[in-house]
């Protein structure tokens, strides 16, 4: 995703001289080309994220489109009040980009796990929260946040994720992409879990469960129409994110379904518990530890549906 982001950003900077990139002394090997080609629109603010974000707001209030860039929680939590007051309150045209969303920096430890970001940023007024699912979505998301006037958060994974979308996509902020259709259940995925979600949906499909898969690249504003249609049409909704189960995609969908009055819907959130990881490991290892492997997800979805069917049968009899 990182490569796709920078390729798109370079193109956008070529087309629009308002585009600026402000980094917090991170991005070795990836920011240099932007700095070389657009030296007057590049800035390394140093290891000082509060100032980086304030500067970005000041530049944006002077007519620029400003991308701030760092890894994991540094560009958002370290400077959260600057994000809230300087960026969101002023409706400043700042796009915050974090590489290493979720457990991408797994082995680096809990300081580098960005696992509450969606929940926290989702609660800020005016903030658009985007977590693309693959490099194709990342390219489209980078262009979409540049066009959107106002604060955006772009949560990227790492470098080298597989391309999930084989053809072109219709990417609109706040509008889910339906990756496949199905009538038995819906799996809603955000961010880098998309590849896993495709595999889970494929496995379930082969086992006779026709699975609708939505890539919910925009967590806020949430595409409530797609979710409610999925609840009505498939009766079961599962959310999947590399994020705490508190307040992220799963939280947002739960809020929506609880208030929607769509009748009884089977619903479950897949994500991380609200704890700090106590084991050391790579992204893949930590995902598996937390039940986010293809096998585990498939098994839990099947058992949840079976349990529910059994319950429904009991209540009918």
């Amino acid at each position: 995703m990182r490569g796709a982001f920078f390729r798109a950003l370079l193109e956008l900077a070529e087309q629009d001289e308002r585009v600026h990139l402000v980094v917090g002394d991170l991005g070795f090997g990836v920011v240099e080309e932007f700095a070389r080609r657009f030296p007057k629109r590049f800035l390394n603010a140093g290891v000082a994220e509060q100032n980086m974000t304030g500067i970005a707001a000041g530049l944006a209030l002077s007519g620029k489109i400003v991308f701030t860039y760092s890894i994991a929680n540094f560009p958002i939590l370290r400077c959260l009040e600057q994000v809230r007051n300087d960026v969101c309150y002023h409706n400043a045209n700042v796009k915050i980009v974090a590489v290493g969303g979720g457990l991408a920096y797994g082995s680096l430890g809990a300081t580098h796990h960005a696992t509450e970001d969606l929940a926290i940023l989702r609660s800020l007024p005016r903030m658009v929260v985007v977590a693309p699912g693959d490099p194709v979505e990342t390219d489209a998301a980078t262009r979409a946040v540049t066009t959107h006037a106002g604060p955006c958060y772009l949560r990227l994974g790492r470098a080298g994720e597989a391309r999930v979308h084989t053809g072109g996509i219709d990417f609109q902020l706040g509008k889910a992409i339906q990756v496949r259709d199905g009538k038995d259940l819906t799996l809603v995925s955000t961010g880098g879990m998309l590849e896993t979600a495709v595999k889970v949906a494929g496995t379930l499909h082969r086992a006779g469960l026709q699975t609708r898969l939505l890539s919910m690249h925009t967590v806020k504003p949430l595409d409530s129409d797609s979710i409610l249609a999925a609840a009505r049409e498939t009766g079961a909704v599962f959310t999947l994110e590399e994020h705490s189960v508190v307040g992220g995609l799963g939280g947002a969908v739960a809020e929506l379904l609880a208030e929607a009055g769509e009748g009884v819907v089977v619903f479950k959130r897949f994500g991380l518990p609200s704890t700090f990881s106590s084991v050391v490991g790579t992204q893949e290892y930590l995902r598996a530890q937390h039940g986010l492997s293809v096998e585990s997800l498939e098994a839990v979805i099947r058992s949840t549906l079976e349990k529910n069917r059994a319950l429904a049968a009991t209540s009918r009899s």
Binding site: Q50, T53, I55, E81, D86, H90
Partner: protein, 258 residues
């Protein structure tokens, strides 16, 4: 005078903080800033950022005096449904560049504005008013380091050094001395002045940047609650709103006929 009435009516606070910078604001808005109340968003305007947003009553008063908005807006300051909030707010208030209130935000934003001006080749200057208390904030020093490094000679920081912060004197809470030397060490051209000597303020702010290729820091020695004898240097007036009797006394001391 208007500020005292606003705070009295509203039963709000921070009168002492407003009065310590009132002379600085008067010179800035009277003689220094290149601004046009009729075009508050003109691209070439000088920017003024009130980083110590809690003292906004004085800013609102001076903006109204300069004609950025009608003076009657001041009358319901801080009250239910009013236009003007208890911390500097840009929403719907012409002339307020940036909303502040949480300390340590103004200087970084001002750095961004000054950087945009430099890179765009615009001649505007950016002035920031800081409190001494917010020199406790790390973000202030992140920005100070940045501005010095980037030789931002279109940026002028004024520290309203009234030497009293929220729970005590600066010396007791977190001593800033030697304050001017700290700014100098961060790459700023620094001057220390009497923040109530109008001629000295004007002379200092007219000759910025004090050195080329350096941001300017003016450490203005001020008196909290300046102008009203019973408020001067009193921590209480960081919080207290004057009652009717105190208002009468204060306005008399300020030379206002009632």
């Amino acid at each position: 005078m208007r500020t005292a009435r606003m705070i009295h009516r509203a039963k709000s606070s921070h009168l002492g903080s407003a009065y310590s910078m009132a002379d600085l604001l008067a010179v800035l808005y009277g003689r220094i800033l290149r601004i046009d109340p009729k075009q508050p968003e003109a691209a070439e305007r000088d920017r003024f950022v009130l980083s110590k947003g809690h003292a906004c009553a004085a800013l609102y008063a001076v903006l109204a005096e300069r004609g950025f908005f009608p003076k009657d807006w001041l009358e319901d300051f801080y009250q239910d449904g009013a236009r003007l909030a208890g911390h500097a707010t840009h929403v719907g208030v012409p002339g307020v560049e940036v909303s502040t209130g949480s300390l340590g935000h103004g200087l970084p934003i001002a750095c961004g504005m000054a950087l945009a001006g430099k890179r765009d080749g615009c001649g505007y200057r950016v002035f920031v008013m800081l409190s001494d208390g917010e020199c406790d904030e790390g973000s202030t020093w992140e920005a100070a380091l940045f501005a010095g490094h980037h030789q931002m000679d279109n940026l002028i920081a004024i520290v309203d050094y009234n030497k009293i912060q929220s729970l005590g004197t600066v010396k007791e809470v977190l001593d800033l001395e030697p304050l001017a030397e700290k700014w100098r060490a961060f790459g700023w051209s620094t001057r220390e002045i009497d923040g109530h000597d109008l001629a000295q303020i004007e002379e200092t702010l007219t000759s910025v940047p004090a050195e080329s290729n350096k941001p300017t820091c003016v450490v203005a020695h001020t008196v909290k609650g300046k102008g009203v004898s019973f408020m001067e240097n009193k921590l209480l007036w960081h919080y207290r709103a004057p009652d009717q009797e105190e208002m009468t006394k204060a306005l008399a001391e300020l030379g206002v006929e009632q």
